[in-house]
Amino acid sequence: MCLGIPGKIIEVYESNGLVMGKVDFGGVFREACLTYVPEAKVGDYVLVHVGFALNVISEEEANQTLALLSELADLEDAS
């Protein structure tokens, strides 16, 4: 249960005073509580732990990290 699972927010709504969302985990849809990520909106990727989204994943950072790693690998190949 410690492994957060990344998923994409499909829908945001309120239920019993909590902000909830429908989240797409690679084709499997589940409800998740979005109260801890007030900035999250439809289309964002969130990391969900036991039914609660705790972070919005930064696509930009992910792309940058990968680009950097690829660059290093290319440099190595060249050397």
Binding site: M1, L18, G26, Y36, I57, L69, S70, L72
Partner: protein, 372 residues
């Protein structure tokens, strides 16, 4: 981030390049601990320990909540779950964890109402649907499950759900790191901090630890490239003799963490001493419900008898959780003890070191490595 991007962090070519990079900077042996059982699982699953240079020893830490929930609490769970008119809810992994006698599965087989839930919110729903029953949730976990559990207590209060309570077994990572580093047997020279714990708590708590004990600590994710990057940064620091806290998981983790979650956690929980299975009491290493929320505390709601907890005499999981032994050094590993028939908690959860070794390397020689 789409799935393609996620799998980018598993790219074979990049993985190999990273391993070569580690090899380049390495001049002598180092012992590095990954605290989190999720990382132990990934390391075994992707065979990362086989790819790494021999000089790097990965020591598997105690970061598996299923493994470290104390025998005493498991025994309490078994007693509460056996009571009539109780619906006992838990994550699936806990059902096979051996107590002093039996496990939650055996309680269920004897007619106990034990149900597996995915989220504590499911447990609350069950309580609403069954007003004549007492619904008890086994609230185990590190900092990652605390925001969910804390929010459920607030919801139970707001929605006046009085037939709901929690058996709380929360544990926290930083005190465990301190305990490991303070042990006279300690061999760990650098840490991969658990990325998902840091999504909640940030990584400010590690700064004083790194400087007091002079160990590098690198916040690390869970994909193969993430883990290798974490190891690379720890090795670089060890070779240079520095001891900083670094973040190698910046797409998810920030220095300060999730502030709204931290607020709700400290509203509902307070710090307490906690017994870790196989390790013993670690001071100020857990969270318990504050007195304000005492009525949601299953330990106070139900009388349980204290049983003199007995571990299997064969099980050395305590030594494994402290990084002093590897699973294959246990005489029962893979023979008397398997995931279907676990003698100790570390063989139950996929995040447990024994289970990870059993699942991914039981056919390979115990300490064989191949070279890239």
């Amino acid at each position: 981030m789409d799935l393609r991007l996620r799998y980018g962090f598993r790219d074979t070519k990049l993985v190999q390049a990273k391993v070569r990079q580690i090899r380049k900077v390495l001049t002598r042996p180092w012992s590095i601990m990954e605290i989190c059982g999720g990382q132990t699982h990934a390391i075994k699953k992707f065979g990362l320990d086989q790819l790494l240079p021999e000089e790097i020893e990965l020591i598997h830490g105690p970061g598996c909540p299923v493994c470290v929930t104390s025998l005493e609490l498991v025994d309490k769970a078994l007693q509460i779950a056996s009571l009539p008119d109780v619906i006992f809810t838990s994550y699936g992994d806990m059902l096979r964890v051996p107590g002093s006698s039996g496990d939650l599965f055996s309680v269920k087989a004897r007619g106990g109402d034990v149900r597996v839930v995915y989220s504590p919110l499911d447990s609350l729903k069950i309580a609403q649907e069954n007003p004549t029953k007492q619904v008890v949730f086994f609230a185990i976990g590190f900092e990652t499950t605390a925001p969910a559990n804390a929010m459920c207590v607030l919801q139970a209060e707001a929605l006046k759900i009085e037939n709901f309570s929690m058996l709380v077994s929360h544990v926290c990572v930083p005190p465990a790191i301190r305990a490991i580093l303070s042990s006279p047997h300690n061999r760990v020279q650098g840490f991969l901090a658990a990325g998902h714990v840091c999504t909640v708590m940030g990584y400010w708590e590690y700064v004083p630890i790194a400087s007091q004990f002079r160990v590098p600590i690198v916040v690390t994710g869970f994909e193969p490239l993430d883990i290798l990057e974490g190891i690379y940064r720890v090795v670089l620091q060890l070779e240079r003799g520095t001891h900083e806290v670094e973040n190698a998981y910046s797409r998810v983790v920030t220095y300060e963490g999730n502030i709204p979650a931290q607020k709700v956690i400290s509203q509902v929980f307070e710090v307490c001493d906690r017994t870790w299975r196989g390790i013993g009491v670690i001071p100020r290493s857990g969270w318990k419900l504050r007195d304000t929320y005492a009525r949601f505390d299953a330990e106070r709601r139900f009388e349980t008898q204290s049983v003199e907890g007995q571990e299997s005499p064969l099980c050395i999981s305590g030594l494994i959780l402290q990084g002093l032994k590897k699973p294959y050094e246990c005489a029962a590993f893979g023979t008397l003890c398997t995931p279907q028939n676990p003698l100790g908690a570390t063989m139950v959860s996929s995040e447990g070191a024994c289970a990870a070794y059993y699942q991914y390397s039981r056919h390979a020689g115990s300490s064989e490595r191949s070279h890239v």
